[in-house]
């Protein structure tokens, strides 16, 4: 495969995966906050 083609396709998926990873991390943080809130109420 052409190097430039590989670089462009790899860059596309790296950006998408990095964004998805940031969403997963935000989900995890939010889940912890919800558990803290539930814990403080009980």
């Amino acid at each position: 495969m052409n190097g430039y083609l590989l670089a462009a396709y790899a860059a596309t998926w790296i950006i998408h995966i990095a964004y998805l990873a940031s969403l997963v991390s935000r989900y995890a943080k939010l889940k912890r906050e919800i558990e803290d809130l539930k814990g403080s109420r009980s």
Binding site: A8, Y9, A11, T12, L23, Y27, L30, I34, L37, S40
Partner: protein, 285 residues
Amino acid sequence: MKKAFPILGILTAILLSYALYLALEVAPTEQTMGDVQRIFYYHVPSAWTAFLLFFVNFIASVQYLCRSNPKTDRIALRIAIAVGVVVFVTAFFVPVPSGLRPSAVATTGLLITGVYLFIHSRFLHIETDVLALVSAEVGVVFCSIVLVTGPIWARPVWGIWWTWDMRLTSTLVLWLIYVSYLVLRRFSASSETPVLAATLSIFGALCVPFVYFSIWFFRTQHPQPVIGGGGSIDPRMMHVLLMNWLAFSCFAFLVSWSRYRLEKVQREVEAAHAMKSLQRPGSAR
């Protein structure tokens, strides 16, 4: 709808894999550029998806500003319908600029009214602000891909990574406007932030047609458009391009949906924290 998410996720993954296979194996090799031309199957669909998301951001922002008052809401709704109808009719009865297809203009007219009515009927006033934020964020991701894949294509074809040509520069400015929108949303704690952000996004959206038409108005190095413009393309390449766009659009929809749910829960948690601090003994004076 929550049950549909995993099924749609699997279907989108299959579609993305199939689109990648089409782009790498099935699409014919371009005669002058060779395999480098295949970057086009990721670059162009990413640009179209980013434009679509910025368009949704624009409509959601307009609705966030207008729906705070019932009178302005009614006026904005009538204007949106009128603009869509006028653009649609213009496409068939008024000569459009050379290089622009009447069907593309008519589709834009339908899209303006259709998206406006859809958001108006399915989203509450406060939800339009969430939708605007989400569409801008995912749009910036796709616009970043455009700005990264473009120079990677340009280096072997033009011999340079970047040139301050109008299409490239205006795309960079568009990206910077939406990045500043996200920075404003992230770091401003004022209650007026959604209003300021909505206003900024309207300026950003005005930049989108400028980016698209910049290759008509100015002499640029960027290739002519293949859809809606005067360019032509091999039908097999067009099929691969449209399949990739469909795959990226489905992916963008799923990511936006996921981000929308995250943002709504985030706001509920913030409201719960605020409520908790108000209920804390000694906080009320």
